[in-house]
Symmetry: C2
Subunit: 282 residues, 2 copies
């Protein structure tokens, strides 16, 4: 019987700390504010936006919404980003992607000032993540993994950490972060031979391959901690992680559930980054 590492526990602890931080900032005349930029009316974006707004409200972080029509021109979007960059009352910006195809996403994302890039989408934020400096912000999902490990007192020093997945949004930054936390980090991917044997050696597993159940039977050992980043949907529309929970749970020491694990914490990390961005302006 593994311990279930519930995202809610992490969210609650983060919330308490963040409320105090926001109060301290407001006492200094700074109201942490997030700009949310959405182009079009995609359901996923709107649903994430609602969740982020609720989370912000509960913590006392203000939100300013910038909604552009699906056929907005690139110039209109750049104008909105410039407005955000120039507004000292806005500390962070979340820009929903993918952007409509007529917009050069690579160009647009780098228009955002890295100090307001709380979702880690700019090249300079990537440099900051890679070099472990306070240049921009790292992406929220791998940071959520680290928040979970920290919250439950799981120190990576000297531990073997297996990252399953090498995406720029999760796998690579998670590897850099785990390395910074003194883990001995191994990155596995589709070309890895006998992945089960590699992952089975690890003390901590971060599954972020983006494929349901890819970390399954034969990958686990007693004592292991498993962080499941996956958000996949089966034919019945049920949310499934990258980890075969039923195979892992009887063997490992601790595991994050899906849903209710990493995904839950991601929004809190976004809010934390807004507060951190506001702190950095003082």
């Amino acid at each position: 019987m593994a311990t279930i590492l519930k995202g809610k526990d992490v969210v609650d602890a983060m919330k308490e700390k963040m409320i105090a931080d926001v109060e301290a900032l407001k006492a200094k005349g700074v109201e942490p504010t997030l700009a949310i930029v959405r182009v079009g009316e995609r359901g996923d974006d709107i649903s994430y936006e609602k969740g982020a707004m609720t989370r912000c409200k509960g913590i006392g972080v203000a939100v300013r919404n910038f909604v552009l029509p699906t056929d907005a021109s690139q110039d209109e979007l750049l104008k909105a980003i410039d407005q955000i960059n120039n507004d000292k009352g806005i500390h962070g910006c979340l820009l929903f992607r993918p952007l409509p195809k007529h917009i050069n996403e690579n160009y647009v994302r780098n228009r955002l000032a890295p100090e307001k890039d709380v979702d880690g989408i700019t090249d300079l934020s990537m440099a900051g993540t890679y070099s472990c400096t306070e240049l921009g912000f790292p992406p929220c999902t791998p940071t959520a993994c680290m928040e979970i490990l920290d919250h439950f007192g799981i120190d990576l020093t000297g531990k073997k950490v297996a990252i399953v997945g090498r995406s720029l949004v999760v796998g690579k930054p998670a590897a850099i972060m785990a390395l910074q936390k003194n883990g001995t980090v191994t990155v596995c991917h589709t070309k890895t031979k006998d992945m089960a044997s590699v992952v089975r050696e690890a003390d901590v597993v971060i599954a972020c391959a983006g494929k349901a159940g890819v970390v399954g039977e034969g990958f686990f050992k007693p004592g292991q901690v498993v962080i499941d980043v996956g958000i996949n949907f089966d034919e019945q529309g049920n949310m499934k992680g990258d980890v075969d929970f039923a195979a892992a749970e009887p063997v490992v020491a601790a595991i994050t559930p899906v849903p209710g694990g990493v995904g839950t914490v991601t929004t809190s990390v976004l809010v934390k980054h807004v507060i951190e961005a506001a702190k950095r302006t003082i």
Copy 2:
């Protein structure tokens, strides 16, 4: 008896290819040109500068030297960098570091245009290295490791690669590059437990810890390929790698010597980057 992976073989092959590239560029009216910026008269810098100039000359790449006195102001140095950025006849720039203490190195290095950053010192080059895009250039030393592997036909796909060291200049970029080459990459460092057992599992070892002989007895297995990045000097002034050569050589399949290995190739990579930078301007 291990095969000795001589840097000179790689340098010779790269040279031949580069001479052809330079000729093709010159036929299009582009003369690849490297700016070398040196502040002061440090022996190491001057010695590296001489080597780089000789290597450039042999390949047909022009060099323009910018030498500033040790007490040059930061503004003077920035002015030189601006001049290089604005000169369309200069394609790459090598800036010797560390800079004198009165100069803010972190600020100055980011003044260089990333498209001319052939030594990978800017934040944007780091983002390019991390994201494996053509944004700036990766640092020369880890690239030299990959050139050696490529030259000797050592494919990393599906292989276990152990990187010993996690510096921003070698270990981290080498890990990212090995990952891009489809290796299953493990990064070891001072906090790694039982490093010997981790490294012994690897098919390819890249030793870049910066400490003589740190990869030694018990770290090796038959069939292994060992790339030794270390440049250390013993009490007698002899150059020593990070690998205990005498312990490795009887066991492994192939190993780079020190001196005459990675270090030899690094300058060729610098020149290759200048040529690549010139190509990108067309």
